[in-house]
Symmetry: C2
Subunit: 222 residues, 2 copies
DNA sequence: GTAATAGTTATCGTATACGATTTCGTACTT
DNA sequence: AAGTACGAAATCGTATACGATAACTATTAC
């Protein structure tokens, strides 16, 4: 997650720009629809436009920004359809990542995951959605620590990044879903501890994500 | 797949460069390990280096190219580990794409898919691996025509592109696997026709890809 | 003969500059 | 008053130029 000063000093400007803009999107400084003017960003960072352009293009490839020819870049949106696509895809890749990782998770990691989940439970009381989401990613990150397939893990992270740009939007926090989520985490841990077969674990992990989508859809229908 | 002349005329040079280099990788002109010198490609295409750079970066994001700072870009490799990752990921996303698409496939599409599969069967007799692979993609493309989730479809295509760069490498064509593959296609069509449940279809489609990987692994072990 | 080093070349990374395209505002017409 | 046409400003897209970095080569010391 964090990088050493040495590494970041050796980074190219295009990478720095990428990281900077991405961070601003994820932390919510640049909200969906925000117009990313190349010259402006370049000036902010003290770079020229060329590396910024490259950074934007990379973010586009990850789905975080939309870049139209001769028009410009905007932080990509909170379109419900896009949300559905992203959640559905996440459900699949998280399911796979969990099932692949499960046999490699040791009891120490389980304990850490459980501790994180406990924090999440506490988090519910003073209603802190931002922290809850962060902890949720931590929880799953612990499970994915030894994921044997980095490609799949990368897809998970891309999905998370997309969702991050929806921060504090209407999509988040369907009432009651957070509580359920914490319970499902515990159930998942028990499956992993009990060395359940891959299919069962995959199904549970997939369902865990899908349930959040379903909760949103049910609410949206009203 | 194909674009109109008008569209391609309106394309930016960076997009043209992207398409051109990608095509050369996929058709095998640039083989894995090939050194992509920006200035050279730019000269070939009659562009300057800036749009070429952008194109290379995009290809990097898709995993087709490796781009090292101050060193340069190379067509990314045929590392067996990478092959495993890609095939495993494809197995998952193709499985999901097939299951999601299945309810939306009509009898006309089934017939078309069957025709393609028949061509594949014929293809086996005069041993044409390149054409066989192309037809295989056609077969699955027919099934994915009405895939309700474009994100997942995109992941499938990315996987295919990565595999394309392995053309005529040691990974392809494990003896006997092609025949099996044609049989599995027919079995898959029958499941879809019979409106089998999503889980069954997903499992079959996933297994279809996984079997090719297994065949390779079994051969590699010897 | 080999290893270390200095110098050369090739290539990358970024800044600057300018033409191309879009967008927005204003004036004019109906 | 609404719509259209024109022009100005903003922004993008690409070319060119040059400094920075790494790879290569030749030379020298041992």
């Amino acid at each position: 997650m964090t990088e050493t000063a040495v590494e970041s000093a050796a980074q190219s400007k295009s990478q720095q720009a990428y990281a900077a803009v991405k961070a601003r999107i994820i932390e919510g400084t640049y909200t969906p629809g925000y117009r990313l003017v190349l010259a402006k960003i370049a000036e902010d960072l003290g770079f020229s436009v060329v590396p910024v352009r490259e950074a934007i293009r990379r973010l586009e490839a990850e789905g975080l920004v939309k870049f139209e020819r001769n028009v410009g870049a905007t932080v990509s949106g909170i379109d419900p359809t896009e949300y559905l696509y992203t959640m559905q895809t996440l459900s699949i890749v998280e399911g796979a990542a969990t099932a692949l990782s499960a046999p490699l998770i040791d009891s120490v990691a389980i304990a850490r995951a459980r501790a994180v989940n406990e924090e999440m439970r506490e988090c519910l009381e003073h209603f802190d959605p931002v922290r809850f989401t962060a902890l949720n990613q931590d929880f799953h990150s612990v499970l994915f620590e030894h994921c044997p397939n980095p490609h799949i893990l990368d897809l998970v992270h891309r999905g998370w990044n997309r969702l991050a740009s929806l921060r504090s939007s209407t999509f988040r926090f369907v009432p009651g879903r957070a509580q359920e989520s914490v319970r499902e985490h515990e159930a998942l841990l028990q499956l992993i501890e009990g060395a359940a077969d891959a299919e069962t674990i995959e199904k549970a992990a997939r369902q865990h994500r899908a349930a959040t989508l379903d909760a949103y859809l049910a609410q949206a229908k009203q």
